[in-house]
Amino acid sequence: MQDRTYSSYKQLEQKSKYTNMFLRWFLYFVLVIFALYFIFPLYVMVVTSLKTMEEIRQGTLLTWPSGLNFDSWLVAWGGRGYGAGDTFLKPYFWNSIKMVVPAVFFSTFIGAMAGYVLTKWRFKGDKWVFLFLLFGCFIPYQAILLPMARTLGVLGISNSVIGLVLVHTVYGIPFTTLFFRNFYVSIPSELVKAARIDGAGFFKIFFKILLPISTPIIVVTIIWQFTQIWNDFLFGSTFSFGEAAPIQVALNNMVLSSTSVKEYNVDMASAIIAGIPTLIVYVLAGKYFIRGLTSGAVKG
């Protein structure tokens, strides 16, 4: 990699120092323009959330706020305190946490077990079983919404956080299985065989041999599932309303609610609050996030 760019660099150098310089500048220019395009909405969100409505009307999207004014953030998080009709994100934020934590845990655990069996305890037709699960990554969820709504109703858990935990656990399994299966495939089976000869059983091999070396893939899986479930809107909006709604649904309701005056600063603060958990995870563990994205894509 380094050699390649180095040699291309040298070749350009031979041609002419000026063309070379021009090309480098052009390269950086294009990259920075795109960076600005990607940063622009985030910048606008943050700046708008710190302005008063008066400032918003007078300035433009790009105008710097007059000061650090977190009023709209407080309103978005905790409301104005006038009771009925006062919607704010705090309770829904907790709904999302209560939904995400168990759903991520269960789907990761089931996926880890399935990936373990599919690679280390192979049986006849295991390839087909994997394909059977893998297809679940791709189905358009519209094709399961109606029966799911009925089922949740029959089970008496529609419009509840528990119902959403079930939904997210189930539809996360194809992805978590995929992650763990692809990870365990690369781990030499000799390890497992040797342990079996020594008399180690199914669970002992998993917990003593595989689990200790699984940290990277567990991180990838947890981050992937967390991001997916936190950001979900389709299931949340279809299977819950009112008090049980997760944060994305609440955000959408808040933004759409047509009170007399549209408060864009509160809208933007709400959007940032709803986006901040996944954004923090992305900034802190971007490497694992990207790994999940590309392996989730390249293989399924």
């Binding site: 070749q11 918003i56 399935a114 189905i139 358009p140 950001n231 994305q248 900034v283």
Partner: protein, 291 residues
């Protein structure tokens, strides 16, 4: 008994995953398929009614608009994401300073929900206080940018936001692809006198065929399923001008209480996705078997 348990333990551990997916994915899809052949309204009915719902679906103006929008959106979304993704990947591959920072910036939208980004873009694109006002305040007094509330143009605002969200993803795929190419290949080409442009255009990009294929599948898949972004940006409006199949499906089921018709639309979406995914899975599996 204990022996049997021990022998079948792996299969028993595997059972919950298979059972859950079997029931909640395959069973439910079949259920939806069945319902699409009935005349269900608010509640599902189980007497078969034939293909009436499909006839009704393809005779519905709203559905035709939804399909039309899907085609427009998919085409533009694909082209822009792939072109921007490739340009960024190639440029980043030139030993750039601060590559890590730039990569992080290009990809962060993928970490946000479509509702969050939709809310942001809705504010940016709104004609009264958004971009339009910005340009007018800068002195372009006749500048208009009202796509969000313009029937003809609203679908393109969804393209703008969608591309912004997903282009970085394509960049990541291509960057990973480019970096997996052996240096020797490029060196050999250089020795033969190929310049940088030729190296990419004639050698590296053709080698990226699997990455193109993957991006194509993922992007088409995203666009067929796109729902959140439309809800957050336009709710299918103005009028019904930005309706897409996923939105049509939920509206028909939960607002219009036409469960049968809605199931038919869901099955059309399912078939569209299957037509893209099954060949993809097949080729991926073959590649793996060949290894």
């Amino acid at each position: 008994m204990l022996k049997w348990l021990e022998k079948n333990l792996p299969k028993i551990v595997m059972a919950p995953a298979v059972g859950l997916i079997g029931w909640f994915v395959y069973g439910f899809v079949l259920w939806t398929l069945y319902i699409s052949f009935t005349n269900s309204k608010i509640l599902p009915k189980y007497e078969l009614w034939g293909v009436g719902q499909y006839v009704k679906l393809w005779g519905s103006r709203k559905w035709l608009i939804a399909v039309d929008n899907l085609l427009i959106f998919t085409a533009l979304f694909l082209i822009f994401c792939v072109v921007i993704g490739i340009i960024l990947a190639i440029f980043l591959d030139q030993k750039i300073r601060a590559e890590g920072v730039l990569r992080t910036i290009y990809l962060y939208p993928m970490a946000l929900s479509f509702i969050v980004t939709g809310t942001a873009w809705k504010w940016i694109l709104n004609p009264t206080l958004g971009i339009q006002k910005m340009f007018i305040d800068w002195g372009f007094e006749n500048f208009t940018f009202d796509w969000l509330v313009n029937r003809e143009m609203a679908i393109y605002t969804i393209v703008i936001a969608g591309v912004w969200q997903s282009a970085g993803f394509v960049m990541a795929l291509f960057l990973a692809g480019l970096r997996s190419v052996e240096d020797e290949i490029v060196k050999a080409a250089k020795i033969d006198g190929a310049n940088l442009f030729t190296v990419y255009w004639k050698i590296l990009l053709p080698m990226m065929r699997p990455v193109f294929f993957t991006s194509f599948v993922i992007l088409v898949h995203i666009s067929i399923k796109s729902y959140d972004l439309i809800v957050a940006l336009t709710q299918g409006g103005p009028g019904i001008s930005t309706t897409m199949p996923a939105l049509y499906m939920t509206q028909t089921a939960f607002h219009k209480s036409q469960v049968g018709l809605s199931a038919a639309s869901a099955m059309m979406m399912f078939m569209a996705v299957a037509a893209v995914i099954i060949p993809y899975l097949y080729s991926e599996l073959r590649r793996e078997n060949a290894r």
